[in-house]
Symmetry: C2
Subunit: 79 residues, 2 copies
């Protein structure tokens, strides 16, 4: 079973990396980009076979290690 975790900075938290990408796109001539936010995606190969239990386990991983929940939000998707 595979799980995909998206980790993004919370709304309102400054994202200098995203801002740098936005500026660079402008410099390259890509108009029409109002904002950019950059985050992480983590794909996990799990031995678990029960989707609900796997999602619960991955959420615990996010709380313990993968996300900094002070400034980051995460979402878990079982695929």
């Amino acid at each position: 079973m595979k799980a995909r975790v998206h980790i993004m900075l919370k709304d309102g938290v400054l994202d200098p990396q995203g801002e740098a990408v936005r500026r660079a796109l402008g410099t390259l001539g890509f108009a029409g980009v109002d904002g950019v936010r950059q985050g992480k995606v983590i794909e996990l190969d799990l031995t678990a076979t029960d989707a609900a239990a796997a999602e619960e386990e991955v959420r615990r991983m996010c709380e313990a290690l993968l996300a900094n929940t002070v400034i980051e939000k995460y979402s878990v998707e079982i695929i």
Copy 2:
């Protein structure tokens, strides 16, 4: 219109960051994680209103700046 881009290392390209996460999860007692791959997710706010044109534009951004297509693969999703 919003677009989400996933950028992952191609299969077969060593992912030391993902490997570090896998080991750390093991150290924390999370058994049952066979493999971890870490990538980037970039969310773009676009002024474009046509989804097909927006996706084409974002693909050009990936080729020009967002992804290193020698070692990375990307996927674009209009949301």
